[in-house]
């Protein structure tokens, strides 16, 4: 168990902390690496999905007979091919899933709930035939008025998406259905008493738009179901064990009969923790008795895969003249898309997590509307609530005339601080990141007119979870490492480094791969910043088994008591009285005699990793505002974040820089744009404006290391926190440049110019 592991000090560390070349690197720079759409099988069919042209409509009838008769069409599936599921939250992996909603998102049943909602799917011998077949499917719709905006969806009399959805978490229980799925709340202290102590109070409302994870690789899957009912699936996913669980459940198959292999994954950021195509491909293959390959178009990715929530946030904070936060209140309204399950709960818990405040109350609402069901996106929920809070903190600093970093330092959470969501923090690095940022020359470099500087901090919990890793020492002493969490950003490198250090073998003698669902026990998905944290724990566990086994074998070989043998520096050696009895034997030496000493050598780490340490970060940004066009240019960016221990500093920096760039897009230009008809108008990379290379500067990443005592190497997850601070940091910088507080994302040129003009008018 993870809890048995001891701390960093007594461990060999040769590779951990260095910048090795990733083992999967060469395949990725030569085009050899195989991603989701790169798998093919003999006789495979092309699968295509028929999607709703309406944002909200009742399905009166679906007639597939004409399509089925078209030569070359081998299978058609609709809602009738999937058994309905009960509306209960049941565990799939560590996630609570409502399969009634999932089965409806995969193929619409009573209603279509957003433009692009899947209605039917076909498998045919060619793309052309599949396209023709979709046109031949006759769907009769009773079109209903859509509701897109979260505030509109909460209004009494708004079009109701689910007649059976009654708000949970309010007393008395409502007797009418609504679009408000859930009300959540956390509170501590006495909020009113807190505000009565405040000398300064700032209260503001904020709006954010849904943004998409924007992975460059569209969803893709290849499924092959054989006559005996066993299924093989190759797909791009953050968690192939989760794909297996969902497919088995939705299609009534034994989990053991579904084997899922994760391809190389072309980005996920949370968006590939759910299933869209996989159950359809399996269902089609089951019917057609041939392999079926399905790949989403970019338009489908935008219209039918999950962005994160758009939201409305109200924040009220009070502080004393001296700059002590005495009360904090927030109301979060998160849009969940067509089915309940927005990340409002973590949004509520993260909102004030960076600060030590006695009196806190946060209320959150989970609201459905006619948009694609949201999926996780990097620190789900946190960037939205923390954008609002960090903007208000900046305004407090201004009102109190205290340096914004200083004000944060005065209120920063530290070891022993009781988090707003309950428990006390262990050792954490928020204060260290604030100091690190303030120490940079960036912080004191003078600015010109129409330039501004902003700072903001951010928090994410990080998680552990169920994880398996197998280590095998091969006949020649090389090591095979198999992990069960897809490698999105360098996991194989990190795990190989830890294995090499644990066993004292050269890094290039360790070959890490990602095993399929038949090769390892259950692994939770790659997400929550857990894969390097949990995976390295499992590697340590597996390596310990190997070391203990090698000592036992050596004891027998040398005929000395096992307690007089130790494993050190990659060799088993006799010690104490036995020291002279035999020469030390390396792992490779032991591998040569493996057969004679009991057979193959290997270890198997099976853990439910606990003790994930939260990661805090602080970002510092300079912007220039063009007063005539409203364009905001990011001039300079510096960020510091606590990694606990950076196993591979380059890939830690990469996580930092990538999260910051995504945050820059969220802040300035990314948004889902809907027409009055409830249809998405910018379902492509042309008008969904993610940052391009010329939009961003170099991003200076400072790695702060406050070791996580619960991890053998001190590691914390690092992947999610980086996307939390950018929106507020940039809003604060724009305020510093223009004197105008922007509360509505994205802060795009038309919005910025409009605000500048209005101010001129008001001055005149």
């Amino acid at each position: 168990m993870a809890t048995m592991l001891t701390t960093a000090t007594d461990l060999p560390q040769t590779y951990v902390g260095t910048r090795t070349v990733r083992p999967d690197g060469v395949d990725k720079v030569t085009g050899r690496a195989r991603f989701g759409a790169d798998f093919n099988l003999p006789g495979q069919l092309v699968g295509r999905v028929l999607r709703s042209p309406h944002a909200h409509a009742r399905i009166v009838s679906i007639d597939t007979s004409k399509a089925e008769k078209l030569p070359g069409v081998k299978a058609v599936v609709t809602r009738d091919d999937f058994a309905d599921q009960p509306s209960e939250f049941i565990p799939a992996g560590e996630m609570m899933i409502n399969y009634r909603d999932m089965v409806r998102n995969i193929l619409a049943r009573e209603k279509v709930l957003y433009e692009g909602h899947a209605v039917a799917a076909v498998a045919a011998t060619s793309v052309a035939i599949a396209k023709r077949a979709l046109k031949l499917i006759e769907v009769e719709y009773e079109v209903l008025p859509p509701v897109i905006d979260v505030m509109d969806a909460m209004k009494p009399g708004a079009p109701v998406l689910h007649e059976d959805l009654f708000t949970v978490g309010v007393e008395p229980k409502p007797d009418k259905p609504s679009n408000i799925a859930k009300r959540v709340e956390i509170a501590q202290g006495d909020i009113d008493a807190g505000f009565s102590k405040a000398d300064v109070i700032v209260e503001r409302e904020f709006k954010t738009q849904p943004v998409h994870q924007g992975y460059i690789e569209p969803h893709a899957t290849l499924a092959s179901v054989s006559e005996d009912g066993s299924a093989e699936v190759w797909c791009t996913t953050q968690g192939h064990f989760i794909v297996r669980a969902h497919c088995a459940r939705l299609l009534g198959m034994d989990i053991g009969k579904v084997r899922v292999t994760a391809s190389e994954i072309g980005g996920g950021f949370g968006g590939k923790t759910v299933v869209y195509l996989e159950p359809l491909a399996v269902a089609l293959s089951k019917k057609a008795k041939r392999p079926v390959k399905m790949v989403m178009s970019r338009e489908e990715v935008f219209k039918a895969s999950g962005p994160t929530s758009g939201a409305h946030v109200k924040v009220k904070m009070g502080a004393t003249k001296g700059g002590r936060f005495v009360a904090a209140y927030a109301e979060l309204r998160y849009q969940a898309g067509a089915f309940q399950g927005s990340p409002v709960q973590p949004g509520v818990m993260c909102a004030f997590a960076p600060y030590d405040i006695d009196n806190v109350k946060v209320i959150g609402y989970d609201v459905v509307s006619n948009r694609p069901k949201v999926a996780a996106y990097r620190a789900p929920g946190a960037p939205i609530s923390e954008f609002a809070v960090e903007s208000v903190v900046d305004e407090l600093a201004k009102k109190l005339d205290i340096d914004p970093v200083e004000l944060r330092l005065q209120n920063a959470a530290r070891e022993g601080t009781k988090a707003a969501y309950g428990p006390k923090f262990g050792p954490i690095g928020l204060i260290d990141t604030l100091h690190a940022v303030r120490k940079t020359d960036h912080y004191t470099t003078p600015l010109e007119d129409w330039q501004g500087r902003g700072v903001a901090s951010g928090f994410w919990f990080n998680i552990g979870g169920e994880t398996c890793v197998s280590l095998t020492v091969n006949e020649d002493g090389t090591v095979s490492l198999m992990a069960g969490t897809p490698d999105i950003g360098g996991l194989r490198a990190s795990l190989a480094m830890v294995a090499a250090d644990e066993l004292g073998v050269p890094y290039d003698k360790v070959r890490p791969i990602i095993g399929d669902t038949g090769s390892l026990g259950f692994n939770f998905l790659t997400g929550g910043s857990r894969s390097a944290f949990s995976g390295s724990m499992a590697v340590v566990e597996a390596a310990r088994q190997i070391k203990a086994d090698l000592c036992r074998r050596a004891a027998k070989l040398w005929e000395v008591p096992v307690d007089q043998i130790e494993f050190e520096g990659g060799s088993v050696r006799p010690v104490g009285d036995a020291a002279t009895k035999a020469k030390p034997m390396s792992v490779a030496d032991m591998a040569k005699v493996a057969g004679k000493t009991g057979g193959p050598i290997g270890g198997y780490g099976r853990i439910n990793a606990q003790g994930a340490g939260p990661s805090f970060g602080t970002h510092l940004v300079d912007v220039a505002v063009d007063p005539e066009t409203g364009r905001v240019t990011v001039l300079r960016y510096t960020m510091a974040q606590d990694a606990g221990r950076a196993v591979h500093p380059s890939y830690v920096e990469g996580q930092y820089q990538g999260g910051a760039a995504q945050g820059i897009g969220w802040a300035l230009n990314e948004e889902y744009i809907y027409g009055p008809d409830g249809k998405l108008q910018n379902a492509g990379f042309l008008d969904y404006r993610m940052p391009v290379a010329s939009d961003v500067p170099m991003i200076d990443a400072i790695i702060v290391e406050v070791p996580n005592p619960r991890h053998p190497y001190g590691v914390r997850g690092v992947g999610e926190t980086p996307i939390v601070p950018p929106m507020a940091a940039i809003a604060n910088a724009i305020e510093n440049a223009t004197g105008i507080r922007f509360t509505d994302l994205p802060m795009s040129p038309p919005k910025v110019l409009k605000a500048l003009k209005e101010r001129c008018r008001n001055k005149v």
Partner: protein, 158 residues
């Protein structure tokens, strides 16, 4: 109508293939010639993951018809390494950890190679604008730009 019969040169090899009018060069490369190193991220020329060179000119293979390339010279990521030796750009991308998921990497490498063949010493800004048609969602571009600058320096030293 009958498929088009096309003969072209891909990574130095003479190839022949049949294609429908509506098939793009990217379709042909991936599905007919099994060169899946060029990736399809958008099929509208907005992401650059399918970047190749056509008679030495950098283009998106999703915006070229297969039937247009008769007699043309095509270079893809699969032709970038020379036997055992990686191109300096490939080497520097590895050293600088200029990739995370790696889906955009072939496009960035092909586009960067085309740049360095025209300009041995581009500035950071020139590199950023040249590569603006290549989307990366993982790295924030920082390490990619540094890798290209370092590769350029290495190639200038020869």
């Amino acid at each position: 109508m009958a498929k088009h019969h096309v003969a072209a040169q891909v990574n130095g090899d003479e190839v022949e293939f049949l294609c429908e009018t509506e098939e793009t060069l990217l379709d042909v490369l991936r599905d007919t010639l099994n060169l899946t190193g060029s990736k399809e991220g958008c099929s509208s020329g907005d992401c650059g993951a399918c970047s190749i060179t056509l008679d030495g000119r950098l283009v998106c293979s999703c915006l070229v018809l297969g039937c247009e390339v008769g007699g043309r010279r095509i270079e893809t990521i699969e032709g970038m390494a020379r036997g055992e030796t990686l191109h300096p750009l490939q080497q520097k991308f590895l050293e600088h950890a200029a990739l995370q998921c790696g889906i955009c990497t072939p496009g960035f490498l092909v586009a960067s190679k085309a740049l360095l063949e025209r300009d041995r010493d581009p500035t950071e800004t020139e590199i950023r604008y040249w590569l603006a048609g290549n989307l990366c969602r993982c790295t924030g571009y920082d390490k990619i730009i540094k890798a290209v600058m370092d590769a350029a320096a290495k190639m200038r030293r020869g």
